[in-house]
C-alpha cells in the first residue's frame, strides 16, 4: 500500500500529481468537447466562494455588474489591430444558424449561413466598447465602472484542468475614465484587490508588477499582474489589470464632452481573474495527501464524522453531531456562516476520513461513543499530518473554532510565503542563470538585470522557456548589467518558467 493518498507524489511527477489531486478531490474532469472541462460540485463551490468575495470588493469600490453578448461580430474584433492579432488564432467561429437534414447525407449539416461570422468572446473589450460608446456622452457619465461574470473561449493546444481550458469562467471588469491618471489609478486599485484577495482568501502570496511589451495584453498600453509561485517553483499569472489608454476608445468611438464642452476620447481599463485561480490554489498548497484549502474558500470548513458499531450508538452520536452542526453553523467566520458537513455515508470511517483529507477540508471531527461520553471531539486539521489528531472538549472546540480556522489559514499562508521568499534569488551571472533554468529541480523566481530589449527577452525564452513574469513594483533602481547581453540596466526583473 502506498504511503500517500495521491500517487504519484509531487516529487515523482508534479504534472500528474496535479491531475490526481483534482481527481481525488472530485473537483473537475475533462469533457469530450475539445479542451473544455466539467467543473464538478466541489470545484464549483470553490469558484462560488471566489466569486462572492471578489464581487463584494468590486461592488464596495463602486463597480456594477452587467451582461454583454456571448458573440462578437468578426468586424468588431478586427477594429483593434493588436487585439485581433492576439485572439484570431484561437477563437471559436460561429458560421451557421441551424442544422438540417440533407438528402443523401448522414446526420445533420450546418445551414442558414450567417452573413457575418460571429466569434465566441475570447474577451469582451470590443463588444462592450460598442455599448460604452452609446452610454458615454459627457464627463458626467464618467467614471463608468462595469464588471461582468461570464464564460469565454480560447482554444488551447494543450489544455489542463483549470489552468488552461478552451472555455473558462471569469470576471472581466471594463471601466471608462475622463483622464489617463484616473484610469491608471483604477488599474492599480484593482491589482491591489487581486493581490489582497490572493493573500486573504487563497492564502497565496503574490508579486505585483508590470508586464513587458511582449507579455502584455493585446491592445493594452500597460498590463499589470499578480504572479504566484507554485510548489514546483513555476509562476502562475493569477490576475491581470490593463491600462488600455485610448486604444479601445478610439477603435470603439468612446468619446465624451469634457467640462470645456470639447469632445475627447475616453481612457479605458480592463481586468480579470478566472477559474485558473483554482489551479493556482491547488498547486500552491496541496500535498501528497491531496487538496489543502484555506478556510475562507473551502466549500465546507468542518466535516463531522460519526463512528459507531450499532444502531443504538448511531442514534446517539448522530443526534449529538446534528446538535453540534447547528451550533457551528450559527458561527460567522469573516462575515459568512460556517459550512459544516455531517458525513454519515456507508463507507468505513477510515475511508470517509481520507475522502475529506483529499478534499482539503480544514477541520475533521470524529466522534465515537467514548468521545460522546466525555463530551469531547477527536479533531484533525488539514494543515497538520493526518495522524496528528487531538481530543478537545466540545465547548472548547466551539469557542475556539474561529481562532483555529485563522490559525490554519496562517499556517498555510506562512508556508507558502516562506517558500516564495526562499525561492526568489538575485542572479548576476549568465552561467548561473542558465544553470538554474536548465537543471531539473533548481527552478526559482530569478531577479536579474535586463536591458529592456525584446531580443534579449526572446532569446532567453527560446533558450530556457523562462519569461519575464513582471517588472516587480518592489524592485529598486539599481545599476547592473543585462543578464543576457551585458548592456547596462537600471532594474531587476523576475524571470521564471510559468503555467
Amino acid at each position: 500500500m502506498p504511503k500517500t493518498a495521491i500517487n504519484p507524489t509531487r516529487e515523482q511527477n508534479y504534472p500528474l500529481w496535479y491531475q490526481e489531486v483534482i481527481k481525488a478531490a472530485d473537483m473537475a474532469e475533462s469533457s469530450s468537447v475539445r479542451g473544455c472541462m466539467v467543473i464538478k460540485p466541489w470545484g464549483y463551490a470553490i469558484w462560488e466562494n471566489i466569486r462572492k468575495a471578489l464581487d463584494k470588493e468590486f461592488k464596495r469600490t463602486g463597480h456594477k455588474n452587467a451582461y454583454f453578448p456571448l458573440f462578437i461580430p468578426k468586424s468588431y474584433l478586427e477594429k483593434e489591430a493588436e487585439h485581433v492579432e492576439g485572439f484570431a488564432k484561437e477563437c471559436a467561429v460561429v458560421t451557421h444558424s441551424r442544422l438540417e437534414q440533407v438528402e443523401g447525407q448522414e446526420g445533420l449539416v450546418p445551414a442558414g449561413k450567417l452573413t457575418q461570422e460571429l466569434v465566441v468572446r475570447p474577451t469582451s473589450e470590443t463588444i462592450i466598447g460598442e455599448s460604452f460608446s452609446k452610454w458615454v456622452n459627457s464627463y458626467k457619465d464618467l467614471p463608468l465602472l462595469i464588471n461582468q461574470w461570464a464564460n469565454v473561449v480560447r482554444w488551447e493546444l494543450r489544455p489542463r484542468l483549470f489552468l488552461r481550458t478552451a472555455e473558462f469562467l471569469w470576471q472581466e471588469g471594463h471601466t471608462v475614465h475622463s483622464t489617463a491618471d484616473e484610469a491608471v489609478d483604477e488599474t492599480l486599485m484593482i491589482l491591489d484587490i487581486y493581490a489582497d484577495f490572493c493573500k486573504d482568501l487563497l492564502a497565496m502570496p503574490v508579486l505585483k508588477g508590470k508586464k513587458t511589451e511582449s507579455e502584455k495584453f493585446p491592445g493594452a498600453v500597460d498590463t499589470y499582474c499578480v504572479e504566484a509561485m507554485m510548489q514546483d517553483k513555476k509562476a502562475l499569472q493569477a490576475g491581470t489589470s490593463h491600462f488600455l489608454g485610448q486604444n479601445f476608445a478610439k477603435s470603439s468611438e468612446i468619446k465624451f464632452q469634457n467640462k470645456e464642452g470639447e469632445m475627447e476620447y475616453a481612457w479605458t481599463t480592463s481586468w480579470g481573474v478566472s477559474t485558473r485561480l483554482i489551479g493556482g490554489l491547488i498547486m500552491a498548497h496541496s500535498d501528497d495527501d491531496g487538496l489543502i484549502l484555506p478556510p475562507r474558500v473551502a466549500p465546507a470548513q468542518i466535516v463531522l464524522l460519526p463512528i459507531y458499531k450499532n444502531p443504538d450508538d448511531a442514534k446517539k452520536i448522530l443526534s449529538y453531531l446534528e446538535n453540534l452542526k447547528s451550533e457551528l453553523e450559527n458561527i460567522t467566520y469573516h462575515g459568512e456562516n460556517l459550512v459544516v458537513v455531517l458525513d454519515d455515508s456507508e463507507a468505513t470511517s477510515s475511508a470517509r476520513s481520507w475522502d475529506w483529507i483529499k478534499k482539503g477540508v480544514p477541520v475533521r471531527v470524529e466522534v465515537g461513543m467514548r468521545d460522546l461520553e466525555k463530551d469531547s471531539l477527536f479533531v484533525g486539521r488539514r494543515d497538520k499530518p493526518h495522524k496528528d489528531k487531538e481530543s478537545i472538549s466540545r465547548d472548547n472546540f466551539v469557542s475556539e473554532i474561529v481562532a483555529t480556522l485563522d490559525d490554519i489559514y496562517q499556517n498555510i499562508y506562512s508556508k507558502a510565503k516562506s517558500f516564495l521568499d526562499e525561492n526568489i534569488v538575485n542572479i548576476d551571472e549568465k552561467e548561473k542563470f542558465y544553470d538554474i533554468f536548465k537543471s531539473k529541480g533548481k527552478q526559482a523566481f530569478v531577479l536579474s538585470h535586463w536591458c529592456g530589449c525584446p531580443e534579449c527577452e526572446k532569446a532567453i525564452k527560446e533558450d530556457l522557456k523562462a519569461t519575464i513574469r513582471c517588472v516587480p513594483f518592489s524592485s529598486q533602481e539599481e545599476e547592473g548589467k543585462c543578464i543576457y547581453c551585458g548592456k547596462s540596466s537600471k532594474m531587476r526583473v523576475v524571470f521564471a518558467k510559468s503555467y
Copy 2:
C-alpha cells in the same frame, strides 16, 4: 407635456409601452448582435436577486451547482430524436477554430475547420448526460441533484428584450433518480419552488399545471409549468419542470446497479427559469409611469433624495441622509440587508424623483431643510400614485420600514392576484370562445373543455393564436364537451395567447 412618464401608455400600445419601460428604467438594450441583448446594471441587479433567492432554495433542497461545457458536439444532440428535432432549427453552429488573413481577401476568414461541428448549448441535457453516465454507477450514487447557472443560445426570429432573446441567462437543473416516482416528485417539488418564488419574490401569482403533448419539452415525458398573466391578459410561461422518464438516460446511457445487483436505466428530470422572468415581472406590475418592483427583487428598496438650495443646507442634509442610510442598511428584510441609494446627482429634484419612479424603487424619501428641522421625511411609495406622499417622522419611518415594504409587496401581489382572478373565465360555447380571442381587449385565461385530441388544439392555435397553456392542477374532474369538436371531455384546460 404628456401626463404619464411612459409613452405610449399600456392602453395605447402595450408592446411599445413594454420597450419604453425597459428603456426608462435603464434595464437592458438590444445589441448589434442578432437577437442578443445587453443587460444593463439595473436589469442585471434584478437577475442577481432572482439568482440568489432561487439558488438558496435549490441548495436547501439538496442540489449542488456545477458547470458543463458551452459546446455540444453535433452527434450528442442527434442522440435523442425529439430533442434534436426541437432544437436543430435554431442553434448556433461553430464550424471553425480560428480566423485567418487570406491573400486577396479583405478581412479575416474562418480557418481550422473542426472535424465535428459544435453547437452552442440551447439546453444541456445531452452534454450533461455524458457526464452523468460516468458519475452514476450504483443506486448509492442516486439521487444526483445538479444545477447549473449558464447562458444558452436559441435563435429567435422576433426577439424581444428579456422575453425572447437569442442568448439568455438561466438556471438548468438536471437530476437522476432510481425510480420514476422519485423523479416525478422532484419535478413537482421544483415546480412548487418556482411557484412560491414567483409569488413571494416577484409578487406574481401563477397557475401550476401540465403541458399538453404538443407544448411539452422536446424529449420529455411530461412538462409541468407555471403560467403567469400579464396585464394584457396574455400568458407568460414563467418556468418549466420536466419529467424526462428514461428517454435521456437511454440516449446517454445513464445506468445504475440497483440493490438487487441488476443494471437499470435511471430516471431523469430537468427544469429551468431564465431572464424572461424579468420580462414577466415588468409586464405583471408596471404602470404608465414605469417599472414597479416588489421590494425583495428590487436592486434597492429605498432611495434618499436630498433637496437643497445652497452648499450649507446641502452639507446638513447630506450628513443627515448618510446617517439615515447607514441605519437603514443595518436592517434586514427577509434575510437580506436593505439596499439604500442616496442620489445626490446634479439633476433637478423633480427629475431625480422621476428617475427612481421609472426605475420602480419601492420607497422614495425626500428631505429638504424644513423636513430636517422637524426630523421628518417626505415619503412616496411606488405602489401609490406619485403625488400621494406623506410626511413621516424619521423614527417612525425607520421602525416601520419592514412593515411598509411588506405592505407594498402585499399591495402589488393583491393587485396582480385580483387581476388574474377576474380574468379567468369558464367558457362553454365555441362562439364566445372565438369572440374572446378575436376581439381586441377581450383576452382572458379561458377555462374550456378539450377532448385531448391534438387536432382540436392545433385548429384553435391556427384560428386564434391561442394555445393550451396547461392542464391546471386546480382543475376538477367534470363532464363537458370539447370547445372545438364537441366530443366529450373530462376536464377544463387553460387557453390563452402567450408570450
